[in-house]
């Protein structure tokens, strides 16, 4: 057990013991990887782990736990998600205790039938510069594990997006794993058959992915949950990153930096460069 894990467990245990939170959302071991877990008793806090396999964005669960006081183990991107959700009035800051853990990047998840033993740093982590959550009540420093960023193999360049879209199963895993996709009626799931039908029609996958990209533009915190959940590994975060770049170039805005920074589409004013 690393020092960071020990610190994490003691913080979580203390919070639960003092009844400051009802529940701590964290990661636990599962097979050769980790999975999200919900700890509600102080003695269970030693189930919590923290390593480079923890790719899932735990902020995904916060909306469904809105009526409870929750502690959350947050990487940089989980923290950015919480900021975005707070901006969109989806959460109450008072009921969340953020245990920020310093992140050196996570691995691509090891998935079924993979013929490769070596682990690669996730593509989106290579671009990420946020190591600690921008919003934090406790901070757990990483114990100086060498950053994986330096000695990692880069993924191939995705150039033919249409053929990537063609692989899509329209299983909606990207939408459902995304902590910021919280619409109860998703326009691309089949609630608007004029736009995208419920069943997978190959031509409509173009509209499907572009619409999702447009809905994520300027909101996506590039946590890579969609990309990692995708069964056919479409590098979606790369697409959303491009749109975030557009926001950065035009408005100097990046999602998830601070709660006080209003999203440009909300406070659109004339005279802004567009």
């Amino acid at each position: 057990m690393s020092r960071a894990e020990e610190e994490l467990r003691s913080i979580a245990g203390r919070l639960l013991e003092k009844k400051e939170v009802e529940l701590v959302v964290g990661y636990e071991h599962h097979g050769r990887s980790v999975r999200p877990c919900f700890v509600s008793k102080p003695e269970e806090a030693n189930r919590l782990v923290w390593n480079a396999d923890c790719w899932f964005n735990l902020a995904r669960y916060l909306r469904s736990l809105r009526d409870r006081r929750v502690g959350i183990v947050a990487k940089g991107c989980d923290g950015k998600t919480i900021v975005e959700l707070l901006k969109e009035n989806q959460l109450d800051r008072g009921s969340i205790v953020v245990i920020a853990v310093e992140c050196n990047g996570v691995f691509k998840p090891f998935k079924y039938g993979l013929n490769r033993a070596e682990r690669r740093l996730a593509d989106y982590c290579r671009r990420c510069v946020t190591r600690v959550s921008p919003i934090a009540d406790y901070v757990v420093k990483s114990d100086g594990q060498a950053s994986q960023r330096e000695n990692s193999v880069a993924d191939g360049d995705a150039s033919d997006w249409l053929s990537l879209f063609r692989k899509c199963l329209k299983c909606m895993a990207c939408v459902k794993a995304c902590p910021l996709c919280y619409c109860t009626e998703c326009s691309i799931e089949g609630f608007k058959p004029d736009l995208v039908h419920r069943l997978r029609v190959p031509q409509e996958l173009f509209t499907f992915h572009l619409t999702r990209a447009l809905h994520m533009a300027g909101r996506c915190v590039e946590c890579g949950a969609c990309e990692s959940a995708c069964p056919v590994e479409i590098p979606l975060t790369r697409l959303y990153h491009e749109l975030n770049e557009w926001f950065k170039e035009n408005y100097g805005y990046a999602p998830g930096r601070s709660v006080n920074e209003a999203p440009p589409p909300l406070v659109f004013k004339e005279g802004w460069k567009g």
């Binding site: 999200p36 919900f38 039938g113 490769r116 299983c171 799931e189 029609v201």
Partner: protein, 341 residues
């Protein structure tokens, strides 16, 4: 479908020739490697097939139950109704025993009289399934629980097993026999030493897997009666309703139909649906009999492990391990099995 069982031997060189001749004479679909993971694709050359895979990411289900297929087309101007029955001759090579067993489960469900699915039936009739035994079961596999592997499944036409010097060929159906007959001169009669090695391999792998997870599956049918709400409530909390489990499951067969109007032709399409989606059970009135996530979550396991066995006498799971490995939230069907099995 009658079951013939004939055991033959195919040498390593013979297999190469078999593959080449097969590709040149028939439409062959085999696993192809792209960036470390495998998928079933039509191959034009024998070299394209990569047979050193643990399993394909997605099951071969889509060749039998396409993700979307048109059930009928109606032209109101001409007053014609057209029912396109799919299925053209092809050979599905290198299916793992678990995925092949899934086909026999689908047979018992979709071909059950009096109303067999004509689309599935026509595809099933025209596709010859050649399975390749697992030499090294994957980390998440538990096919032993449902007797769907690791060496021999139940829905294939021919089972190939790698042994020293070549492959042991077991002909399982008349369709398989027909394929073997085409390449008659390549096959030899299997010797006693081949059968012995096969037997050893089979018992070793089964033992190996039983040590990982060995349960009495007969007890699973009680799952629905003895539903432990606490356990499921805890597990369901983790679920994000992403529906990956059913889209990558070789058995999941639930479907949805949709009506389209395209260029003044009415079409009805049928395609994969998933119980994880809120749209699955919601009715036009807005009523949803399975509205909560826990109910939906229980439903998946009850359906697979208790309702399908009660109605069709086979389990709705083959233990391929896809849902375990691909689930972003780490929901694990093996935990349900261990608890109730």
């Amino acid at each position: 479908m009658e079951r013939l069982s004939r055991v033959l031997f195919l040498s390593e060189d013979g297999f190469k020739i078999f593959l080449e001749q097969l590709v040149s004479s028939k439409n062959v679909i085999a696993p192809v490697e792209t960036d470390g993971c495998f998928e079933f694709k039509t191959i034009k050359r024998a070299g394209e097939a990569s047979l050193n895979y643990s399993n394909t990411r997605l099951p071969p289900k889509r060749f039998f139950l396409p993700q979307r297929e048109v059930v009928f087309k109606h032209d109101p101007k001409k007053g014609t109704l057209h029912e396109p029955l799919g299925g053209f001759e092809m050979v599905l090579l290198g299916v793992r025993p678990c995925d092949a067993s899934a086909l026999s489960i689908l047979d018992s469900i979709l071909l059950k009289p009096p109303n067999p699915d004509p689309f599935y039936e026509s595809r099933r009739r025209s596709i010859t399934v050649v399975s390749l035994s697992c030499a090294k079961p994957g980390e998440e596999c538990f096919c032993n629980v449902f007797e769907a592997g690791p060496v021999r499944g139940s829905g294939e036409d021919i089972t190939l097993t790698r042994i020293t010097g070549g492959l042991l060929v077991e002909v399982r159906s008349s369709r398989g026999q027909a394929l073997v007959d085409v390449f008659k001169n390549l096959f030899e009669k299997a010797g006693a030493e081949h059968l012995e090695e096969y037997g050893e391999l089979s018992s070793r792998l089964t033992r190996e897997m039983n040590s990982r997870i060995g349960i009495a599956r007969e007890r699973l049918v009680r799952l629905e009666e003895t539903l432990d709400e606490g356990f499921f409530q805890k597990e369901a909390q983790r679920c994000v309703e992403c529906s990956l489990c059913s889209f990558t499951c070789p058995v999941c067969y639930c479907f949805d139909t949709e009506d389209y109007l395209e260029k003044n032709i009415y079409m009805r399409a049928k395609g994969w649906d998933t119980c994880a989606s809120p749209l699955f059970t919601r009715m036009a009135s807005g009523l949803d009999p399975r509205a909560s996530r826990v109910e939906m979550f229980c439903h998946r396991f009850c359906h697979k492990l208790s309702r399908i066995p009660l109605a069709f006498n086979s389990y709705g799971c083959v233990g391929c391990g896809r849902c375990v490995s691909l689930c972003p939230a780490g929901v694990d069907i093996r935990e349900v099995l261990k608890r109730w099995g």
